[in-house]
């Protein structure tokens, strides 16, 4: 009965109700986007870091992974130390560098990763074979397009460019053995992976056995923080960064988006609240006589309050349902804008849909819908019946 009366009141001014629902829908869409933005980037980054199960990353002291050209010498000895720890399951040593491929008069530059293919955590092989042989490399689509090459081709590749002399420290013929997707690199960036020893010898880093990064996979259930502290104490040349710490640093750098999400989400909620409150209050003001008659007939205060709360809730729910669909489309569009950030890994999403985001947005809107009905329903419930009926009769 209450729901029926509430619906009848909303239907009486159809255009007005439709406009209010539309307003709440836009606010709901914005709210969903902002909830997705505030949690999405963090979650997306966490998923990316843990994609291959490596919980710790070791970079040269005072640097972040691949933030500078600094390297860690004595890779074999450090890897041996790490493997000796009972909680360590796998160690992947990675050397970063650049490869140059001459194509006609142009030189194509690609980011190169020197890895041990058996334990690498930097790429996923899409087709062909892994770079198991010393003269093999796997490359991404951007590399194949830029170099005009195919899997199976042999390319003249150089590394260790000296800008003073315009010479390379190493040149070698490498076979493109496979096609891969590099997890931590931007999609448009040309990239190749080859055996670490091959890249070390091409860049002149073989003697000192230098690498840029270690990735460490731990046993399931191992205390990551305890292992991190152990590494920090026993291998002073490196900084050990756990996934949680890396996420914290990303949070610090990109806190702007989280804060923007919070502010705009709050504004959306306020706008939705004001819209529903205004609409329901005006609706109550127009029905003062009707409500007074209901009360005079013996309808309880609780009944009137519930009916008016239901009106606000119905507008909020209808707006929320439309807004959630609208929000998903908007979030996709906004994500496509932000994914153009230079150097951003293709797997990172600023707006990540999770059921929790939708439920959070819906829950907030329901709460706002109920809150928006509190003032008008209080006003209706405390209406002096006799005075209201008298004024209505005079009017």
């Amino acid at each position: 009965m209450r729901a029926l009366l509430a619906m009848a009141a909303l239907r009486r001014h159809g255009a007005r109700t439709l406009l209010a629902v539309l307003g709440v829908a836009v606010a709901a869409a914005m709210l969903l986007c902002m909830v997705m933005l505030s949690a999405g980037l963090r979650e997306s980054f966490r998923e990316l870091l843990l994609a291959r199960g490596f919980q710790l990353r070791l970079s040269p002291r005072g640097t972040l992974p691949f933030d500078t050209e600094a390297t860690i010498p004595g890779a074999a000895e450090i890897a041996r130390q790490l493997r000796a720890h009972p909680d360590v399951v796998a160690v992947s040593a990675v050397l970063g560098g650049q490869l140059h491929v001459e194509r006609g008069t142009e030189s194509i530059t690609a980011f190169a990763l020197g890895v041990d293919p058996a334990v690498q955590g930097d790429y996923e092989l899409l087709s062909g074979h892994d770079a198991l042989a010393p003269d093999a490399m796997v490359v991404n689509d951007a590399f194949l397009t830029a170099a005009g090459a195919r899997v199976g081709d042999t390319l003249e590749v150089a590394a260790g460019y000296n800008p003073q002399l315009r010479t390379y420290s190493g040149e070698q013929r490498l076979v493109v053995s496979g096609r891969a997707r590099f997890l931590y690199l931007a999609g448009e960036q040309s990239a190749a992976a080859l055996r670490r020893t091959t890249l070390q010898s091409m860049t002149g880093r073989a003697r000192s056995d230098e690498v840029s990064l270690f990735m460490v996979r731990l046993k399931e259930g191992a205390d990551v923080e305890a292992v991190r502290r152990w590494i920090q104490q026993n291998i002073p040349r490196v900084d050990a960064i756990s996934t949680a710490e890396a996420m914290q640093r990303v949070d610090e750098r990109l806190s702007y988006f989280r804060q923007l999400g919070f502010i705009l989400g709050a504004v959306s909620l306020i706008v939705g609240f004001l819209l529903v409150t205004t609409l329901v209050t005006v609706s109550v003001n127009e029905r003062v006589g009707e409500i007074a008659v209901m009360r005079a007939m013996g309808i309880s205060r609780v009944h009137v309050v519930q009916q008016i709360l239901l009106e606000g809730l119905a507008i909020s729910l209808a707006g929320a349902v439309i807004g959630l669909g609208l929000g998903l489309v908007t979030a996709r569009y906004l994500n496509s804008i932000l994914s153009a950030f230079p150097g951003l890994p293709a797997a990172i999403d600023f707006f990540l849909f999770q059921p929790r985001s939708a439920w959070t947005a819906l829950g907030l809107l329901v709460a706002v819908g109920i809150a928006a009905g509190v003032y008008p329903s209080w006003r209706a419930a405390t209406l002096p019946i006799a005075t209201a009926l008298h004024e209505e009769a005079v009017a």
Binding site: H13, L19, V26, E252, T278, P342
Partner: protein, 282 residues
């Protein structure tokens, strides 16, 4: 490039060189102009110097220098997310401390005009010295990609906000005019024409819109000041994150005026088409 600095007060001996440090480093490390510090390209050298309680390292790996200036960070968007400290040293000193030899990362070359820039560019790129010269403009375009992306994102958010505001404004103004049903009915009954009633309702809606938008400008200006104050302190930069320009104010007022007039006209049309007695509830 990592350069460690340790504040270290001690008596000056002999010729000491000077450095300029960033205001954020000065504040965090409580360094003032005239203080003496040890600088090195290797953190452990500075740590050892501090650890022995006054036995300051000097030589090829560390130098004792006097802070001669504290400089504010430039209002450069590309430096926002970089929270590293800045120290400005003489070139030869930095080359020695970090073992860089007689090498630099880049040269900045001033030219007389754009034609001279082209000539210099060709001359440098033709020379076999391993240099690659770029126009400052091209580098600016390359490095500003990040901010163009953020800018596009802000524009998209702005459009969504405008749509939401427009719907909100339309709804509120329709409700406002609808509230005048009885007044309009009474006015019609005492002989006012439909056109007069229509104009009065539209003018009232326009007035409310302009008044509301002016109040919105004040709130926007205050919010903008708060945003700037917060983010300038958070990122330690003099960069202005939010600006309220004359164009923005004019756009906001005009938009709300147009929406107000449209909403007022729509509602007024409905009112003047309805019989006066119906408006009065008879």
């Amino acid at each position: 490039m990592l350069l460690s600095v340790l504040p270290f007060i001690f008596a000056l001996q002999g010729q000491t060189r000077t450095v300029a440090i960033g205001a954020d480093l000065a504040a965090d490390a409580r360094i003032r102009v005239g203080d003496t510090v040890v600088v090195s390209g290797r953190p452990e050298v500075v740590e050892e110097a501090g650890g022995v309680g006054g036995d300051v390292a000097a030589g090829p790996l560390a130098d004792t220098v006097v802070v001669s200036a504290i400089v504010e960070r430039r209002a450069d968007p590309s430096e926002i997310s970089r929270n590293d400290y800045r120290v400005r040293l003489h070139l030869d000193q930095l080359e020695r401390l970090i073992g860089y030899g007689d090498r630099v990362d880049r040269f900045a070359v001033g030219t007389a005009d754009s034609a001279a820039t082209e000539r210099a560019l060709d001359a440098i790129n033709d020379a076999a010295f391993g240099f690659q010269a770029y126009r400052s403009r091209d580098i600016a375009v390359e490095t500003s990609t990040t901010f163009e992306v953020v800018s596009r994102f802000h524009r998209a958010i702005g459009v969504i906000t405008i749509v939401a505001s427009a719907v909100f404004l339309l709804c509120i103004l329709l409700l406002k005019v609808e509230e005048r049903r009885r007044d309009v009915g009474a006015l019609r009954l005492i002989g006012l024409s439909r056109w007069t009633v229509f104009r009065s309702v539209v003018i009232e809606a326009a007035f409310v819109s302009v008044l509301g938008s002016l109040l919105g400008v004040v709130i926007g200006w205050l919010t903008s000041a708060a945003v700037n104050s917060y983010y300038q302190a958070y990122y330690r930069t003099p960069l202005r994150f939010s600006i309220v320009t004359g164009d923005i104010v004019a756009f906001s007022v005009l938009l709300s005026l147009v929406l107000g007039v449209v909403a007022g006209a729509l509602a007024a049309l409905r009112l003047v088409r309805t019989a006066p007695l119906t408006l009065l509830g008879r």
